[in-house]
């Protein structure tokens, strides 16, 4: 199967009009290549340059809405194939609109160690929760849920190892553990041996009947944080200590007779709860340090309904709760970003899919992620896939 997919890719690359897909050639062993292109037209009532989520320590990274007007979204170039009978590899290069390149994924994975074990090493998205290990192009909305932004800086990945085990039961029960450098938010880069972050998760799922199926999970992500920096009101501060995040996730999918081609529905939601305990250093130029404790939560719920082979509509509601934040001897008024607040966002979208490989989406949202500010957002996005036909996760 892979051989023919590769043949297809070669033609796309070379622009050749007709080749025998089975022609013997060294190039047959080239990885399957795929390229994702996306662009957005964005209308915002607030400037994305001042984007922040009130009540939460800023995560850095790519969390703000796209730039106003026309902008290119991340272009993603991916190559993957079997390495030998035991391993496969995947590489994804993400090219930002600002001409920066980032290695989004670079991992090797066992092709089944038997007994339901799968070991992965390298850089990859964590399998915590549900949406986190989906590529942005597979999302049902232009942007990530608000909770993903506040608790994971958008999407969490790590350089390390992941072991998954699938129980030998008819019911899907998957348990996994990850250990990595944990340099991505909520972790920090650190100069120490050993792991900076790790996660454990369990997912269960099944068919209810031929038309309905579901998956649910619980995950825990833990970091030992060292000097994680954030800027508030132009003052630089750092946090060191322990950060632990619980995620509950669930998804239910329906399609009449399980034939989702024309009509299908999915309901998906996740709940996040993070506790951080450690030391906060306020103003690193004239440092003042204190104990720091916080427990914060958030959730989203979204539904997408496909009513013809080409059209889908969706709605999403996001809500965060800044919870309790104790900055000890540091006056919390010096850290205005941490003032108590419950950010919310309501989003609706409609998309048109001319084929399996292209999508045009209109999204309208009302975002109240900052105190005393409402952002009215309209986004029109195209999203296409070139090259080999990828397989999507559930």
């Amino acid at each position: 199967m892979y051989r023919y997919a590769i043949g297809c890719t070669l033609v796309w690359l070379g622009g050749t009009l007709a080749v025998n897909a089975q022609a013997a050639s060294d190039n047959q062993f080239n990885p399957a290549l795929s390229l994702i292109l996306a662009g957005t037209y964005t209308n915002l009532s607030q400037s994305p340059d001042n984007y922040a989520i009130s009540g939460f320590i800023p995560t850095g990274g790519d969390v703000a809405p796209p730039a106003r007007g026309f902008s290119l979204a991340e272009s993603e170039l991916a190559a993957s194939t079997n390495i030998d009978p035991y391993l496969r590899g995947q590489f994804t290069l993400s090219l930002g609109a600002d001409n920066t390149a980032a290695v989004e994924e670079a991992w090797i994975q066992t092709l089944g160690l038997n007994n339901g074990l799968v070991l992965r090493a390298g850089r990859g998205f964590s399998s915590i929760g549900y949406i986190n290990d989906q590529h942005a192009h597979a999302w049902d909305f232009v942007d990530a849920p608000l909770a993903q932004k506040a608790f994971l800086g958008g999407q969490y990945s790590s350089d390390g190892v992941q072991l998954k085990w699938l129980a030998p039961t008819d019911q899907f029960i998957e348990a996994g553990a990850e250990s990595g450098n944990g340099s991505h938010f909520p972790g920090s880069s650190r100069d120490k041996n050993g792991a900076g972050g790790g996660a454990v998760f369990v997912h269960v799922g099944d068919d209810i009947n031929v038309s309905n199926n579901w998956r649910a999970g619980i995950s825990y992500l833990k970091h030992t944080v060292q000097d994680r920096e954030f800027t508030d009101n132009s003052i630089k501060n750092t946090f060191s200590g322990n950060s632990g995040l619980w995620i509950l996730d669930g998804i239910w999918k329906w399609a009449p007779d399980g034939n989702g081609y024309a009509t299908n529905f999915k309901l998906q939601g996740e709940y996040y709860r993070r506790s951080e305990t450690g030391t906060l250093v306020y103003n690193t130029t004239a440092p003042q340090s204190s104990n720091y404790n916080s427990t914060q939560s958030g959730w989203y719920l979204q539904a997408v309904y496909q009513f013809t082979p080409t059209w889908r509509v969706g709605a999403r509601y996001d809500r965060l709760h800044s919870g309790t934040t104790d900055t000890g001897s540091i006056d919390i008024n010096n850290l205005p970003i941490l003032a108590a607040y419950s950010p919310t966002r309501s989003t609706v979208m409609i998309d048109y899919n001319a084929s399996e490989f292209s999508r045009v989406r209109l999204q309208v949202a009302e975002e109240k992620s900052q105190i005393n500010q409402t952002d009215h957002e309209v986004m029109l996005q195209y999203l296409v896939s070139l090259g080999s036909h990828g397989a999507h996760k559930y």
Binding site: G112, A177, G194, D206
Partner: protein, 303 residues
């Protein structure tokens, strides 16, 4: 990091090691019901079959559901049509299964389309042509000669993987071949009346069937493979049918019937739905009744 000390790994690994499956029956994971039915014919009560799709589903458009991953994890043998038909979900199921035995290249991995002579291999690979399959048309199950070819390989692999029941598989295969040849002779006789008949199809699903029966495909409701029928394309098709009349418009039972019924009404021809696999309607209960049913529906469509 206290989460992943050495002890934790050892506990997890030993947990996994203690779960070697007891081999009672050969577990067969079939992507489509026709291959599950074929395995059942050859294996009888010595095998357990599971079909990832039903005949009511388009096997190109299903999800890598948790239940499929769980079933693949315990499979001893996997048989799928292949030729990219399951490309949107099977690779995910296999990668997440943690089952080395059924990975591509292993004896327990059978891609049925690779065993037969494929038709519709595109000379030009360009997605502007729609969802074309580089390896050719994957819907091989609609030619009973292909079923026989696949049965030969399936039997060999079952013997290889489950030597204890080898004699039984070989005996059942012989019985099946004799019965199948006799049934094919009957279908071919019925099919004589269909030779040369022109047909419009919903999707390029029936190529192997037409190849076998000598029927003529004169048009498709889909403007390009995998692209939904449009009003303008249907109007063009109607014009074409005025010049080159067809006897019927054919679709799979899982296809949306609206375009088919529209064309049938305007061109005054029969709209016929046939099951794409075993279980596609009440009559198609096994491989034999599946073809009995196809022949009956096609013959009915002539009047």
């Amino acid at each position: 990091m206290k989460l992943f000390n050495g002890k934790g790994w050892i506990v997890l690994l030993s947990l996994c090691g203690s779960t070697a499956p007891a081999m009672a029956n050969l577990n067969v994971f079939a992507c489509e019901p026709e291959w599950a039915a074929l395995a059942q014919e050859l294996g009888g009560d010595k095998i357990t079959t599971y079909s990832a799709t039903t005949a009511a589903q388009d096997p190109h458009h299903i999800q890598a559901r948790p239940s499929l991953i769980a079933k693949a994890r315990n499979a001893d043998l996997l048989i799928c049509s292949g030729a990219e038909l399951e490309i949107g979900w099977l690779p995910q199921v296999l990668q997440q299964s943690g089952n080395a035995r059924i990975q591509p290249g292993q004896p327990a991995y059978i891609e049925a389309a690779m065993l037969v002579e494929r038709i519709d291999i595109p000379a030009r690979l360009d997605r502007a042509e729609g969802d074309v399959h580089a390896a050719g048309n994957p819907h091989i199950q609609l030619d009973p000669r292909n079923i026989k070819t696949v049965a030969a390989t399936l039997q060999k692999r079952m013997v290889e993987l489950d030597a204890t029941n080898a004699a039984l598989y070989q005996q059942r295969y012989k019985q099946f071949s004799v019965k199948w040849d006799a049934a094919m002779a009957g279908w071919q006789k019925q099919g004589d009346k269909l030779r040369g008949v022109s047909v419009v199809v919903h999707h390029k699903l029936f190529g192997y069937l037409f190849n076998w029966l000598g029927m003529q495909e004169v048009g498709q409701l889909e403007p390009k493979p995998g692209v939904e029928p449009t009003a303008s394309h249907l109007a063009e098709l109607l014009q074409l049918l005025r010049r080159h009349p067809a006897r019927m418009v054919l679709r799979a039972t899982y296809n949306d019937d609206r375009a088919s019924l529209w064309l049938a009404e305007h061109a005054h021809i029969a709209a016929v739905a046939i099951p794409a696999s075993v279980g596609g309607d009440d009559q198609a209960k096994d491989l034999f009744s599946f073809f009995d049913d196809i022949m009956a529906r096609l013959s009915g469509g002539r009047s």
